[in-house]
Structures are given as C-alpha cells and as structure tokens.
C-alpha cells in the first residue's frame, strides 16, 4: 500500500488538512461584531453624536453611517453588512418629549450566523439608547441606581448553555465534522483498496497470497488501513479534547470507543458498496454520495426531530448519525452508559451487514465477471 502515495496522502494528508482548516477557521469560536450600517434620518447634531457614540461602543461594529436607506440596503445586498439600524426623522425631539419615536432595524437572514449576530448587536444599541434615557429620567426623580436597575428590568432570564457555556461554534461543528471526514476517508479508501484489485485484475494474486481464503485476504488487506484510521481517530480525539480543550463531561474512553466503532462501520459500508457494485468507479460515486449525505442526516446542524418522517427513518442508515448520538451522550450530557448502547449496537449492526455481502464479493474476486474499466 505504500507503493502508491495516494493511500498515505489521502488518509493522513486530508485528515491533517481538515483538522488544521476547521480548527483555525473557527478559532474565534463565536461570531462577534458583524459589520452593520446606521441610517440617520434625523441628521441633527445630537443624532450625529449618538451615531459616533454607538460607533465607539466596543461590541458594535458600524462600518457605514449614511442618511440614505437605499444606499444601506444596497451595501447589504453586496454582502458587506448584515444589519441596518434606522434612526427616524425627528428622533431626538420625540424622545425627550416622550412621544416614543420608533426605531427600525433590518437583518439579513440569507447569512444566518452573520444576521443573528447583527441582530444581537442592534438590540444592544436599542438598550443603549433607551436604557440610558430611562435611567436619566428616573435619576432626575431622585431614585437610587439599584432601584432603577430593578425598575428597568423587573424580570431577568439567566441562560445556561449546557456543556458549551461559551456558545462556541467550533466546539459545536468541528466535533462532528472531523469524525465525519475521517469516516468519509475510511469508506472511500476501503472501496478503493478492494476495487483496485478488481480493476487491475490482481484479485487472483491477492487471494493466492492469502492461501485462497477470501476472509483472510480481506482481513489481511484491511488491517494496515484500519491501523492508520485508528491512529488518525486517536489523533483527532487528542487534538480536539486535549489540545483544543473541547469539553468531555462523560467518559473519554467510551467516546473513543464510539469513534472506533464508527470507523469499523464506515469500513463495513465500504465493503458493502464494492460488494454490491464491484465496478470501482460506480462504488466510489455511490459511496461519496452516501457519505456526504451523512453530514446533513446526522442531524447535528438541522435536528433530526424536524425532518420528514421518511427522512427521519433514513438517518438511521448513516453511521455518523449513531456516532453523533454517542458523542452527545458522552461528551455533552454525561449520560448513563445505557444511553450510548443503542447507537453502539447500531454501529455493530453495520459490521454484520458487510459480512452478508462477502460471498458476492468473493465471487467477484474469483470470476472477475464485472465491467472492470
């Protein structure tokens, strides 16, 4: 296998590149200070001062101050800002005479993370304006500051983001994406390793080396690959949960075991695909399609509970879905081990499936009776 650099490059190189890419891409963890525009229809010295004060607020990133809404909207349509905050005409006059002027703000939902962050920023801006004003009025009435605080906010919500208290995007996405990519490599390389023997008509020689026993041949061929995958899996685990400091509230061992089972399951699916479609390119195409869908079907971004019933059923056919469930149980929920058993059993189930295809694959190896190009 070391004769063709592709094998090594594919598994080690792609995994290293992906790990490096995703960890550095989202190294900030949370999106902050998305650029927004401020439309000042008031155009008074006071509104201008207000604009500059908001611009100086550290959590707010105003990149454009204009008096024209169309200009701001066009800037948004060019993808340069994610929100527009509009101060109406006569704003300050209305505010100080208690006529309650309306503020308007617009966010783009075509980019959800950017839009959400801009939305939070603009809420901060509203609170800046109105909280400061309320406090001023109440102070003039002679109320002490702590009382004022409770008047302004008689109810508070304390949000607790369990297991990811920072709301860190990297923790949330990379924890499933990287194992997913590892699984993708396992699947594709397993198909490639077996399919290549068929394609180059070397399957007889391969079987002879194994003394004619195709199970020995299969196991012998896959052991070196499996070792590489497992080393990569271990590396991935260490990088995420030791080096990058992603939280594991449950058991490291069981999470790692889940990853091992996942690797085996993806290898088994590789055997299944090349067994069903002994033509290398067909098996690879279908395998790629299947593995790519795993990212969406695992439900780590768009939850499985919101999918249509038939799609919901299909999610069970993706090993990544079951690995994700183990990850949630072990890393985030510290749930009892019984909860990780059903997905672990499911991953073992994928291995049994590959056994059922062995006789067919054996025939393909012996007779080479498939279009081999």
């Amino acid at each position: 296998m070391f004769a063709r650099p592709l094998y090594l490059f594919a598994s080690v190189g792609v995994m290293l590149l992906s790990t490096f890419f995703f960890l550095t891409l989202m190294r900030h963890g949370t999106a902050e200070q998305m650029p927004i525009a401020l439309v000042d229809h008031d155009q008074t010295s006071i509104s201008r001062r207000l604009c500059h004060e908001m611009q100086a607020t550290p959590s707010v990133n105003i990149v454009l101050i204009t008096s024209s809404y169309p200009e701001a909207r066009e800037t948004m349509q060019q993808g340069r800002i994610y929100g527009i905050f509009v101060i109406p005409e006569g704003f300050y006059d209305a505010l100080v005479t208690f006529r309650r002027p309306h503020l308007d703000f617009y966010v783009t939902n075509a980019y959800t993370v950017g839009g959400n962050t801009a939305y939070k920023q603009m809420l901060t801006m509203v609170n800046l304006i109105s909280g400061a004003f309320q406090r001023e009025v109440l102070r003039k009435k002679g109320l002490p500051d702590d009382v004022i605080m409770h008047r302004i906010q008689p109810v508070t919500i304390e949000g607790h983001m369990l297991a990811n208290p920072w709301g860190n995007y990297s923790v949330y996405l990379v924890s499933t994406i990287l194992p997913g990519i590892l699984g993708l490599i396992c699947l594709m390389l397993t198909i490639f390793a077996i399919g290549f023997e068929l394609k180059t008509h070397t399957s007889h020689e391969w079987l002879r080396t194994a003394g004619g026993n195709y199970m020995v041949a299969m196991i012998g061929k896959l052991i070196p690959y499996t070792v590489i995958y497992l080393v990569l899996g271990l590396g991935c685990h260490l990088i995420l949960y030791r080096f990058a400091g992603f939280p594991v509230y449950g058991s490291h061992g069981r999470l790692l075991l889940g990853l091992v089972l996942f690797v085996f399951a993806m290898e088994s699916m590789g055997i299944l695909f090349i067994g069903l479609l002994p033509t290398l390119r067909d098996a690879l195409s279908i395998g790629a399609l299947y593995a790519m869908l795993g990212f969406s079907l695992s439900g780590f971004t768009y939850p499985q509970m919101s999918m249509l019933a038939p799609v919901k059923a299909l999610t069970n056919l993706e090993p990544l879905r079951h690995y994700y469930l183990i990850y949630v149980n072990e890393a985030l929920m510290a749930a009892p081990v019984e909860n990780s058993l059903p997905p672990a059993m499911a991953l073992c189930g994928f291995m049994l499936v590959s056994l059922s295809i062995m006789p067919r694959l054996h025939k393909a190896l012996v007779y080479q009776n498939y279009p081999l190009k």
Binding site: A31, A110, V155, I157, M161
Partner: protein, 400 residues
C-alpha cells in the same frame, strides 16, 4: 469543432461521468430539499421546574407554550428530575422558576429571575428555546413595569414612554421565516455544480491518462496552438452541458422549491457564464495532476466541506483568519456562491454583484492559462521520461 465533438462523445460514452455530471447533479438538490423540507424547527420539547407555583409563572408558561417553537412536554418537581429528562434527550431545554418568583414580582423593588437551560447538541434548539422565551419575557416585563410605575403615581401614557421610550421594529430581510433550507440550499446548489464538474473533469482526465492516449493530437499545428484549441474546445463541451444544468439548478429549482428567489432571472443566467468557465478551467487545471480516474474522487471528496466553509456561508468571512480568506479568493465557488446568494436570495442586480462577476472572469482567464501551461509541461514531462531525450526538450519546457 472536432475536439468539441470528441469530448461530448467521451462524456456520454462514460457511464461514470454521466452519473456524476447529470444524475448526481439533478438528484442531490432533491435529496437536500427533502432533508430540509420543514425549514423551521418547531415544538422543541422543554421541561418545566416551577418552584414558585404561582399564577404569574403559570401565566408565563401558558403564553410561552403558545409559541410554535417549543412545547412544554414535562412538568417536574425538581431540577434533578428535569436534568434526567435532558440527559435522556426527552427534552432539549429546562425552564426553572425559583421559589421567590411571584413575591419578587409583587415587590415594587424586586427583581425576579427565570433560569433557562439549553441543550447545545444543536444550536437550533438553543435558538428556538431562547428567542421565544425572551420574547414572552419582554412582553411580561413591560406589563409589570407599567404596573409598577402606576403604583408610583405615574400616568399610563408617561409610564409607557418610560418603559419603552423608543419602541423598535425588527424586519428579517431576504428569508423572512429564517428557514434553514432557505439559507443553505442556494449555497448547496452552487456547490453541487462546482463539485460535480470538478469530479467529472478529473475523472475524464484520469481516464485519458490511464488509457495513455494522445487524445488530441492535432497534426499540422504548432504544439502551443494545438493545446489552446484543445483546452478551449473541451471546455466548450462541458460548458454546453453545464449551462443547461445550471439553468435548471439556479434558475428553476429555487422557484420550484419555493425558497427565496427575488433576483432577476436574466442576471442569474448572465452570472452563471463566468462561474461555469472559472470552475471548468479550475477543474481542468486540477485534472492534469490526477493520475488515474478514481484518485480524484478519493482525494477531492473532502474538499466539498472545506470549499463550503471557506466561502463564508456557514461561518462569516469577517471571522475567518485572513490566510484562509485570501486562499478562498482563488476558489471559483467562493465568488459563485456569494454572488448567487446576493442576486437570487437578496435581489441584488448584476451591477451590484460586479465584484464577484469580475472576480470570476479573472479566475476563468487565469485558470485557462494555467490549464494550458500545465498541459504543455505535463506532456513534455511524459515524453521526456518515455524517450530519455532530456537535453533536447529542456528548452521547450522552459519556453512554455
């Protein structure tokens, strides 16, 4: 047009390529639409721990339960019980009212607290629970504030002015319901075109190399002229097929799928041209390096996610390290996806999207030259190794 016709024949005689070019390109969008069919996440189950057992907390819960985002699935007597439910994934959030919730509200100087615990296994759970709860809380808060001011002897109108001196109105543009599919599917459609072209062309390149064919030997031409013609005519073959596919994916499907489509169809059809050309020449450059037809699939499959993230669709480009952002400028997908979203989902005109449009033409030109140069060098290299005529050919290679 001989090369053009030969290339079309090669494509349609190769079932592997047909599957990728046509079947995958048309089937993928349908699969993704099926996965994100419901767009919204609704009725996220939440557990209630209400130690205050008051009319106020019940009124709060009643109103919150009316929100489509969540459903109050369980009422628990203790946090322990609720945590158990969360651990077992029966609920994805817990709302907790402390014992003094009602008394704090009744006290004109009191501050009442609500605690919210969110499952972070998917950020969409948190968003659904947190935003809807916040909304109910804000409404409640205003009523309480008004009551308190009135108790102080402040008139109702003035109290309102105090409570909400500057009411605000928020408008979500371009994807008013905030649907997940409406956000992701346009980007995925552009990615499908990019990646199927990428794989298909790499497969064809790999096959040609494998069969060791001097496919486009054009007698009577100078080598450089021949290569220009070959690259151009092969690209024309891909372009003809993909222009039809892109019209379906980017022009027709957003309308059929009922995801945002407020752009001018004429602008989209025009924007597709440099996008496809840039992608084709990008892929042709890559295909020169691919040694056999399957390597492409094995190696390049993992680029899909990297391209998607590098384009700044899921993770905003402003938050990326500069190095990745600069690198993303060389990937046609980055400009294609953002430009298409600006035109299709955000209603920008082609003129407003000129930066992406021009960037794609530049990439198309750059990768065209790169593809030609790589082919020239590559063929020389192979010839060299075949005939050992190293010295003779060196000047030619450097001239290229």
């Amino acid at each position: 047009m001989s090369v053009f016709v030969t290339e079309l024949k090669r494509i349609f005689r190769d079932p592997g390529v047909v599957v990728i070019f046509i079947v995958a390109t048309l089937a993928y969008p349908l699969l993704y639409k099926a996965i994100y069919w419901n767009e919204q996440i609704t009725n996220v189950p939440v557990a209630v721990v209400d130690l205050s057992q008051s009319a106020q907390s019940r009124a709060f819960l009643h109103r919150w339960n009316a929100a489509p985002d969540i459903t109050l699935a369980y009422t628990c007597n203790s946090m322990l019980e609720a945590e158990q439910l969360l651990r077992n994934q029966k609920v994805h959030g817990i709302i907790y009212f402390p014992r003094d919730f009602a008394s704090q509200l009744a006290d004109p100087l009191g501050q009442a607290h609500i605690s919210l615990y969110c499952d972070m296994s998917s950020f969409l759970y948190m968003k659904a629970i947190y935003l809807s709860c916040n909304q109910v809380m804000l409404e409640d808060m205003r009523t309480i504030q008004i009551d308190r001011y009135e108790q102080m002897g402040v008139g109702k109108d003035f109290a309102w002015a105090l409570v909400q001196d500057a009411p605000y109105h928020e408008t979500a543009l371009f994807n008013p319901t905030g649907g997940y599919g409406s956000f992701l599917i346009p980007a995925v459609l552009v990615l499908i075109l990019h990646q199927t072209l990428f794989f298909g062309i790499c497969m064809l390149g790999g096959t040609a190399r494998e069969e060791n064919k001097e496919l486009y030997y054009l007698p009577g031409h100078r080598k450089s002229v021949a290569i220009l013609r070959v690259v151009f005519e092969r690209a024309a073959a891909y372009f003809v097929i993909y222009y039809a596919l892109a019209t379906i994916l980017l022009g027709l499907l957003p309308r059929l799928f009922n995801i945002p489509h407020i752009g001018q169809i004429g602008d989209i059809l025009q924007f597709i041209v440099p996008y496809l050309l840039a992608t084709i020449f990008f892929s042709m450059s890559a295909s020169v390096v691919i040694r056999n037809r399957e390597s492409g699939l094995v190696l390049l499959i993992s680029t899909s996610l990297i391209f998607l993230f590098m384009a700044g669709i899921s993770w905003p480009k402003e938050m990326m390290p500069d190095e990745w952002r600069y690198l993303s400028w060389f990937i046609p997908y980055t400009w294609g996806a953002n430009g298409f979203i600006h035109i299709n989902s955000m209603g920008a005109s082609l003129y407003m999207t000129r930066m992406e449009y021009i960037a794609l033409w530049l990439l198309a030109g750059g990768y065209f030259l790169l593809a030609c140069v790589l082919m020239l060098i590559h063929k020389d290299l192979r010839y060299m190794s075949d005939s050992h005529a190293t010295l003779q050919l060196e000047p030619a290679a450097t001239a290229a």
